[in-house]
């Protein structure tokens, strides 16, 4: 069972190219199927959600992409405006601020501010008592987080700010965000990995950093794109005869089978390493033998995550 879907907020993390977006969407579909009102949040404006759901513009608005499932792509500039909007209720004051060079410069130049307001928006989405007008209530917010490296510093931003701004409104905001991230009842994280050397290494160090440096709970490691175990050694031996066949297609079949069995073996070795090196429970997802990931495939994945 995916008990962590009962939390309110899940950060999906991992190295670049491991399938974070796909897994985020699959988890979103899964939660929606279980009746949870769910929103999938993109932060790196990758627009993968738009692609999969054939939705023209999942932008900075909450768009319903399937039954019980919404998506949003968070833009830091919009988040900053919204943050100010919530702080300064008087329109004339806001206009004054938005027009001032000092504000524009501060907003652009202050290191980490983009990340902070982005996490602020994620926090806002996860509130039962939404701050924005007519805000929809969600049971679950799933965040397709930036790739590792950026990922760790992304989640660290609230603490960094809370430390820099020792008192004041920014400090209080940052502290509240940090408390949410480290609250294991409310917030969790999932690490997506691949059965290859580098992704496994990165998963191991990511689990350590998320646990020790950030303090967020790591609820699951998802090993993505595992090949089916198609051929035994005996099978490969039995197919050996095809290697010298006059028929080029039979030679190809032999070659493809041999590659597959070697790849599967290499994957198994890395999967074993992962099992020995991480503490969180591991789920697996099969390799998708399709040219591009379709909604149908994402649905199948959603059902298969265990």
């Amino acid at each position: 069972m995916l008990e962590f879907l009962d939390k309110r907020l899940i950060f999906v993390t991992g190295k670049g190219g491991v399938g974070k977006s796909t897994v985020s969407i699959a988890l979103g579909i899964r939660a929606a199927m279980e009746g949870k009102r769910t929103i999938v949040v993109e932060v790196a404006s990758t627009e993968n959600t738009s692609r999969i759901f054939r939705q023209e513009d999942v932008g900075y608005r909450e768009v319903e992409v399937a039954n019980n499932l919404w998506a949003i792509s968070i833009d830091p500039d919009d988040s900053m405006r919204e943050y100010v909007l919530l702080q300064l209720r008087v329109k004339a004051m806001r206009d004054l601020l938005f027009k001032s060079r000092m504000f524009t410069y501060l907003a652009e130049a202050t290191p980490g501010l983009n990340e902070l307001v982005t996490i602020g928006k994620i926090w806002e989405l996860a509130q039962l008592d939404r701050k924005i007008k007519h805000g929809r209530k969600y049971d679950l917010v799933i965040v397709d987080s930036p790739a590792t490296g950026h990922g760790i510093s992304f989640l660290q931003t609230p603490r960094t700010f809370a430390n820099i701004a020792r008192v004041g409104p920014m400090h209080n905001q940052a502290r509240e965000l940090e408390e949410m991230i480290v609250d294991h009842d409310v917030t969790g994280s999932v690490i997506v990995s691949l059965p290859e050397e580098m992704p496994v290494n990165e998963t191991v160090s990511l689990e350590r950093d998320l646990t020790n440096d950030i303090g967020v709970s790591v609820d699951r490691v998802i090993m993505n794109a595992l090949y089916p175990d198609r051929f035994t050694e005996r099978d490969i031996a039995e197919l050996k005869g095809l290697e010298k066949s006059e028929d080029p297609e039979l030679r190809s079949a032999h070659r493809a089978a041999l590659s597959m069995s070697r790849r599967t073996e290499a994957q198994a070795e890395q999967f074993e390493r992962l099992k020995n090196l991480v503490s969180a429970p591991i789920s697996t997802l099969p390799f998708v033998f399709e040219p591009e990931l379709t909604l149908k495939a994402a649905r199948r994945m959603a059902e298969k995550i265990s």
């Binding site: 943050y83 000092m102 290191p111 700010f161 701004a165 400090h171 066949s245």
Partner: protein
């Protein structure tokens, strides 16, 4: 079509760019090794190489300075001759600290920046700082003129564009004009310090807080003396990136998304007047034949070779599924070639095993340093 050696002829700098997870580090190391085999003295600058690859190059204790890979290790893998392979791992924080030390007016100014809590929090994590520091190190090594070729493995960015934007971001961050807001005597810092009553300032205080504003203004002020140095340096880095000596190689994978990103990145390189030299597409499934295999007939023909019917079925399906992906790869690579206006596109096949040692890099180089015809023969023959 060309080999990577043709692509890099007469170049002194090769920048491998691409989004995360496409094999940039491996490709950079392979390019460097191949050029060493051609007699050059090469240094590869990398960020976070796979542990086993690092181990196999003897790189475990590498810091922010270049060290030579033991020629014996290379010789064991058949790489002999006068070439030398050097490697270093980049440490963004250390490079940033050195840069501050270089540009600071005096020791006191340097220490004020290095001790600033905001600097300490952000110098490793500031958006674009890793990218900028990579270029900075590249510039430094290039100025020293110790190497025939520098190969830069760009940091794992959200997208490759972060890299190109880094110098601009970095200069706008420390740029004089905006900073004057903070540092002129009647400016921001002074007004913050005197708890000025300007409306904007009071609004800022309300949403950000006085203490943080004061810290920020001090942080920017601490940088103020270095603006000119930074600007001038960033300008020279930018010039070097556009020099004919510098070649950008885009590394990508064969799926639609990385290919789209590669096309986009190429257009941005052209726009920015940088020299795109070619693309390397990793993990391509070469088509093993020209026909689309048909399940029924294929299964029967395999069975006829005295193979168990169930196994024949599995082997036939396996080839068909392979071919689906191989056709996708071929279409995507074709698209890429068309969009790159005929510039070289080098396909590295999806090998049976992961690459994590010098022998593996040599295996990749059989393709990287071959012409297209040889590559196809090797991958499908």
């Amino acid at each position: 079509m060309a080999s990577i050696a043709d692509v890099l002829e007469d170049r002194g700098i090769c920048i491998c760019a691409g989004s995360g997870g496409v094999g940039k580090t491996t490709t950079s190391a392979a390019i460097a090794l191949g050029m060493v085999d051609r007699g050059l003295k090469v240094c590869v600058l990398t960020i976070d190489p796979a542990k086993r690859l690092a181990d196999s190059l003897g790189l475990e204790e590498l810091g922010n300075e270049a060290s030579q890979v033991d020629p014996k290790l290379l010789a064991e893998n058949g790489v002999t001759g006068s070439g030398e392979l050097w490697a270093m791992m980049l440490d963004a924080k250390e490079t940033f600290d050195n840069l501050v030390a270089r540009h600071a007016e005096d020791a006191e100014a340097r220490d004020r920046v290095l001790a600033n809590p905001i600097y300490q929090q952000i110098s490793g994590a500031l958006a674009g700082s890793q990218e900028y520091m990579a270029m900075e190190k590249l510039f430094e090594l290039h100025s020293e003129g110790r190497f025939d070729l520098l190969v830069l493995d760009t940091p794992p960015s959200r997208n490759a564009l972060d890299f190109l934007n880094a110098p601009t971001k970095m200069t706008s961050f420390i740029e004089g004009r905006s900073l004057q807001l903070f540092i002129r005597p009647t400016g921001f810092a002074a007004r913050v310090a005197t708890r000025g009553t300007g409306v904007v300032l009071s609004l800022l205080k309300r949403i950000i807080g006085f203490d943080l504003l004061a810290d920020l203004s001090e942080f920017f002020t601490a940088f103020s003396g270095m603006i000119d140095g930074f600007e001038e340096r960033a300008h020279r880095v930018n010039t070097l990136l556009r020099d004919d000596e510098t070649a950008f190689v885009i590394v990508c994978g064969p799926q639609a998304e990385p290919i789209e990103e590669a096309v986009f990145f190429h257009s941005k390189l052209v726009e920015a007047n940088m020299n795109f030299a070619g693309a390397v597409v990793n993990r391509v499934r070469y088509r093993l034949g020209t026909k689309v295999p048909k399940l029924g007939s294929l299964r029967e023909r395999i069975e006829a070779e005295k193979v168990d019917p169930d196994l024949a079925e599995r082997a036939a399906r396996n080839l068909i599924e392979y071919d689906v992906l191989a056709r996708r790869d071929a279409e995507n690579v074709q698209q890429l070639s068309e969009r790159l206006d005929g510039e070289p596109v080098i396909r590295i096949p999806y090998l049976d095993t992961d690459v994590h040692d010098i022998a593996g890099l040599c295996e990749i180089n059989r393709f990287l340093f071959a012409d297209e015809e040889t590559r196809v023969d090797l991958a499908t023959g």
